[in-house]
C-alpha cells in the first residue's frame, strides 16, 4: 500500500512528475513559437488598434493641452455670464502661441465639432489679433466678432476642459450634456443617429432572415444531391463569393437602376408601365437585395456543413415510425440543423450590421447604415474620436448579440464548418 503513495521514479531516479514536465516543456515552447507569429499579428493589427480607438474616443487632451492658461483661468468661472478679463487674456496668450506654432487649425476644427461657427470666428480673430494692443483683451476680442460676446461659445470652450470625455458616446445616441450638466436628448430634428442605429439593426435583421430563407433549401439540396451535381451547385454558390465585392455591387446597380435590366423586364412582361418604373436602388430595397445576395454564402456554408453530417436514415426512420414528412422534418431534421442556423445567422448578422460598401453605393439616403456614418466622420469631418466612439458602440452591440446568443443557444452549439 505504501508504495502507491511514494513518488514514482523514472529509471534515472528523477521523479516522474518532474521528468514529464521537462519533456512537455519543450513541446509547450514549440507550440508557443508556432503560435507566436499569429499572436504578434493579432496584437499589432487587432488589439492595439482597438485599444487606440477606445482611447481616442474618450481622449480630449488635445484641446486641454493647447489652451492651458485659459482653462486655468476658467476654473473659477461659473459659466453663467461672460468670463472676466483674465480669461480673455489667458485665451489671447494661448491662441497667440498656437498661431505662432501654426497649430491653431486643429483647435478650430476641434472647437467647431463642439459648436458650429467656432472656426470662422477663430480665423477672424487670428487676422485681427496682429493689431491688438496690450491690455483690455475682453473688449478687443469681443470687438472682432459679435459671437465672441456670446456666452454660449465660452461655455462650449469650457466643456472641452477635461482631459477625458464621454461626450462622443452621448452624441452617438443623440444626447448631450447641457449647460446644467444634465444629459438630455438633442432637438428632435437633429436626432439622426438613433434613426441610423435602428435602421442598421432592421437591415441586418431582415438580411439575416432573407439569407436564412434562401440558404436553407439550397444547403439542403447541396447536402443531399449526388456529388457531381452538388459540386456544380457549390460552385454556383461560391462563384459570386470569388468575385470582387465592388464588381458585384456595381452589377446590382446595373440591374436595379430605373432604366436597368430588372425594370426593363418588369415593363416587358407588363408588370409596370414604362413611365412608372419602381425605384429599386438608392433606397432600402437596393440595400436589402444586394446585401442578401452578397452575404448568402455565409449562411449556406455553415448550414451545408451541418446538414452534410445528418444521416438520411434519420428522416427515413422518422417516416417509418409514422411521422408525416413535415413532422419528420420539423421534429428531427430541423432541430439537428440548429447549430448551423445559429452559426449562419450570427455570421450574417454581424457582417451585415457593420456593412459599408454596398449600402454606400446602392443605399442612397434612406439606405445608408451606421457604418456609412462612421466612414463619413472618418473621411469628411475628420472627427476621428466620434467615429471611434461609434465604432466601439457597434462593437459593443455585436458583443452583446453574441452574449445573448450564447445564453439562448450556447456558443458550443455553433458549427462553422
Amino acid at each position: 500500500m505504501s508504495s502507491e503513495t511514494q513518488k514514482i521514479l523514472t529509471t534515472d531516479g528523477i521523479p516522474l512528475e518532474e521528468s514529464l514536465k521537462k519533456a512537455e516543456k519543450k513541446n509547450k515552447i514549440k507550440a508557443f513559437l508556432l503560435v507566436c507569429p499569429l499572436l504578434l499579428f493579432l496584437i499589432i493589427t487587432y488589439v492595439f488598434p482597438i485599444g487606440d480607438m477606445l482611447y481616442r474616443s474618450v481622449d480630449d487632451r488635445m484641446v486641454t493641452d493647447m489652451l492651458p492658461k485659459t482653462y486655468k483661468a476658467m476654473e473659477q468661472w461659473d459659466g453663467k455670464e461672460l468670463p472676466e478679463e483674465e480669461v480673455f487674456e489667458a485665451f489671447y496668450l494661448d491662441y497667440k502661441k498656437l498661431v505662432e506654432e501654426k497649430t491653431f487649425g486643429k483647435l478650430a476644427t476641434q472647437l467647431n465639432f463642439e459648436k458650429n461657427g467656432f472656426k470662422s470666428i477663430l480665423k477672424k480673430l487670428k487676422r485681427k489679433m496682429k493689431k491688438f494692443e496690450e491690455g483690455n483683451y475682453k473688449e478687443q476680442i469681443m470687438g472682432v466678432h459679435k459671437r465672441w460676446a456670446n456666452v454660449e461659445y465660452w461655455r462650449a470652450l469650457k466643456r472641452r476642459a477635461p482631459s477625458y470625455t464621454y461626450a462622443k458616446y452621448l452624441k452617438g445616441i443623440d444626447m448631450y450634456e447641457n449647460e446644467d450638466g444634465n444629459i438630455v436628448q438633442v432637438p428632435e430634428d437633429r436626432r439622426i443617429h438613433k434613426i441610423l442605429w435602428l435602421r442598421t439593426l432592421e437591415v441586418a435583421l431582415f438580411v439575416t432572415i432573407f439569407c436564412f430563407l434562401m440558404a436553407y433549401p439550397i444547403a439542403h439540396l447541396l447536402a443531399t444531391l449526388p456529388m457531381k451535381y452538388s459540386n456544380l451547385l457549390m460552385i454556383c454558390v461560391l462563384l459570386p463569393f470569388w468575385t470582387s465585392l465592388l464588381v458585384r455591387t456595381a452589377s446590382w446597380m446595373i440591374l436595379l437602376q430605373q432604366q436597368g435590366i430588372v425594370n426593363d423586364f418588369f415593363v416587358w412582361i407588363g408588370l409596370v408601365t414604362d413611365d412608372n418604373r419602381p425605384e429599386m436602388m438608392y433606397n432600402k430595397t437596393g440595400t436589402y437585395v444586394a446585401m442578401t445576395q452578397i452575404l448568402l454564402p455565409f449562411m449556406v456554408l455553415p448550414l451545408y456543413s451541418v446538414m452534410k453530417t445528418i444521416s438520411p436514415s434519420l428522416m427515413r426512420a422518422g417516416k417509418s415510425l409514422g411521422g408525416t414528412p413535415f413532422v419528420a422534418f420539423w421534429k428531427i431534421y430541423f432541430p439537428l440543423t440548429i447549430p448551423g442556423i445559429g452559426a449562419g445567422c450570427l455570421l450574417v448578422f454581424i457582417l451585415a450590421i457593420g456593412y459599408y460598401i454596398t449600402p454606400a453605393l446602392v443605399g442612397g439616403a434612406s439606405g445608408t447604415l451606421i457604418s456609412n456614418q462612421i466612414a463619413f466622420h472618418m473621411k469628411s469631418t475628420l472627427d476621428w474620436s466620434f467615429a471611434s466612439a461609434m465604432g466601439l458602440m457597434l462593437l459593443t452591440g455585436v458583443l452583446a448579440i453574441y452574449w445573448v446568443y450564447n445564453k439562448l443557444v450556447g456558443v458550443d452549439n455553433i458549427k462553422l464548418g
Partner: protein, 362 residues
C-alpha cells in the same frame, strides 16, 4: 387465430434505378405472419432494395407488394405501420431514449399513460429499463442497437424490417444480440424481415432464408435445408464451406450419376440439376461430409496428399490435393484417432454419393 401465409407478398416485382439495369428481377416472395425471414446475399444483390420497397422508400418499377392482402405501392412510408431498424441505428441524436421511443407513439396521438406503459414494456424487453433519460450518444453500440429495436417495436407494428442491424457491432456482441432478437421475435410473434450478408447470422436467427443474387431469389428455404440441400452452385458456394469438382456427367440414373472429372477420374454423385449425360456440372461436397480412414463403406474412396494443416482448437482444417482439386478442405474433429495428419502424408478420403450434389456449372 389462423396465420396468414401470405401476410407480405411480393408479386412479380421488378426494380430498376436507371432504366437500364434491373436490380430486382421478377421477385415473387410470400412471407407468413409471425415468420422470421432473412434476405441473405452479397452486396448489390438487391436485398436492401427489396427491403426499401417494402418500407416504402423505393417504389417498384413493376409489380405490386401486398401487406395483409392490401396493395401498398401507393401508400407513403409513414402510413404503412412498418417498424424499421436501420444499419446505423438512426436514433434521433437530439432526443433522449424516452423521446426516441415516444416519437412513434406521439405521432399516433396515444395518451401519456399508454405511452409510458408501452415504453416501459419495450425497454424492459430489451433489458434497458432505467435508461429513459440517457441521450443516444451516452450509450454503447449494443445499447443503441437495443434502443433501435425497441423503437421499431414500441408501436406494435405488424411487420418489422431490419437492415443489417448488427453490422456495426463486434463479434461477441453481435452473437449475443442475434439470440436476443430471436427471443424477442419468439416472445411477441411479430413478422420480421431481416437483411444481412452474414450467413451465420442468417442461419442462427431465421425461420426461412431467401438467398439473393443478381436481383433474384436463388433459394428460399429453412436454414438446415439451405445448408444441406443447396439447389444451385451459387447457394452451395455462398452458404458455408464447400468443395467443388467440375466435370462432365457420363451416366444418370434415378438418384445417382457418374461424373467424369477434369483429371480423368470418375466419382458418383447425387444429381440435383443435371438431367442427362454429357452435361457439364459442378459437384459440391461439404467438408464435414468427407471422412478420413473410415471403416464405413462408402461409394467414393480416394487418396489425397495433405498440403496444409491448420489447427482450430475443436477441429483441424486440412487442405488436401485430391482428384486435381488443390483446395479440397476437410474438417477433422480433434480426437486421438487422427494422429497421422501430417504435412505430406497420403490419406484415404471417402464420402457417400448422396452428399456429393451435382449442380449447375454456373
Amino acid at each position: 387465430m389462423s396465420k396468414n401465409s401470405e401476410f407480405v407478398k411480393f408479386d412479380k416485382v421488378d426494380k430498376s434505378y436507371d432504366g437500364k439495369v434491373l436490380v430486382v428481377k421478377d421477385l415473387n416472395l410470400d412471407i407468413a405472419e409471425g415468420e422470421f425471414i432473412t434476405m441473405l446475399g452479397p452486396s448489390g444483390s438487391g436485398k436492401t432494395t427489396c427491403l426499401m420497397m417494402l418500407a416504402g422508400f423505393e417504389t417498384p418499377t413493376n409489380g405490386e407488394i401486398y401487406l395483409d392482402k392490401n396493395p401498398i405501392s401507393n401508400i407513403p412510408p409513414h402510413k404503412r405501420g412498418i417498424g424499421m431498424v436501420f444499419q446505423n441505428y438512426a436514433l434521433f441524436p437530439h432526443m433522449t431514449v424516452y423521446e426516441n421511443l415516444a416519437f412513434p407513439l406521439r405521432v399516433r396521438k396515444i395518451s401519456k399513460e399508454d405511452t409510458d406503459k408501452k415504453i416501459d414494456k419495450a425497454l424492459s424487453m430489451v433489458s434497458l429499463s432505467g435508461f429513459e433519460h440517457r441521450m443516444p450518444g451516452q450509450l454503447s453500440g449494443g445499447q443503441q442497437q437495443r434502443v433501435a429495436v425497441a423503437r421499431a417495436l414500441v408501436f406494435d407494428p405488424a411487420v418489422v424490417l431490419m437492415d443489417e442491424p448488427l453490422g456495426a457491432l463486434d463479434k461477441n456482441l453481435r452473437e449475443s444480440m442475434q439470440y436476443e432478437i430471436k427471443h424477442i421475435h419468439e416472445s411477441i410473434g411479430v413478422t420480421v424481415v431481416y437483411v444481412t450478408h452474414d450467413q451465420s447470422e442468417a442461419l442462427t436467427m431465421s425461420n426461412r432464408i431467401a438467398v439473393f443474387n443478381d436481383g433474384k431469389v436463388q433459394q428460399l428455404s429453412s436454414p438446415d435445408k439451405l445448408y444441406e440441400e443447396p439447389v444451385n452452385s451459387f447457394v452451395a458456394e455462398f452458404i458455408g464451406e464447400n468443395n467443388r469438382f467440375s466435370g462432365q456427367v457420363t451416366d444418370v440414373s434415378k438418384d445417382k450419376c457418374k461424373v467424369k472429372l477434369d483429371d480423368g477420374s470418375e466419382i458418383l454423385a447425387n444429381p440435383i440439376t443435371v438431367k442427362s449425360s454429357g452435361e457439364k456440372t459442378i459437384v459440391s461436397l461439404r467438408p464435414e461430409r468427407a471422412l478420413i480412414n473410415t471403416k464405413d463403406k462408402m461409394e467414393n474412396n480416394f487418396k489425397g496428399k495433405i498440403e496444409e494443416v491448420i489447427y482450430h482448437g475443436d477441429h483441424t482444417r486440412v487442405r488436401l490435393n485430391l482428384l486435381g482439386n488443390k483446395d479440397f478442405i476437410l474438417k477433422v474433429p480433434n480426437s486421438s484417432a487422427n494422429m497421422d495428419i501430417k504435412l505430406g502424408n497420403q490419406i484415404n478420403v471417402s464420402w457417400n454419393s448422396f452428399d456429393a450434389r451435382a449442380l449447375d456449372p454456373k
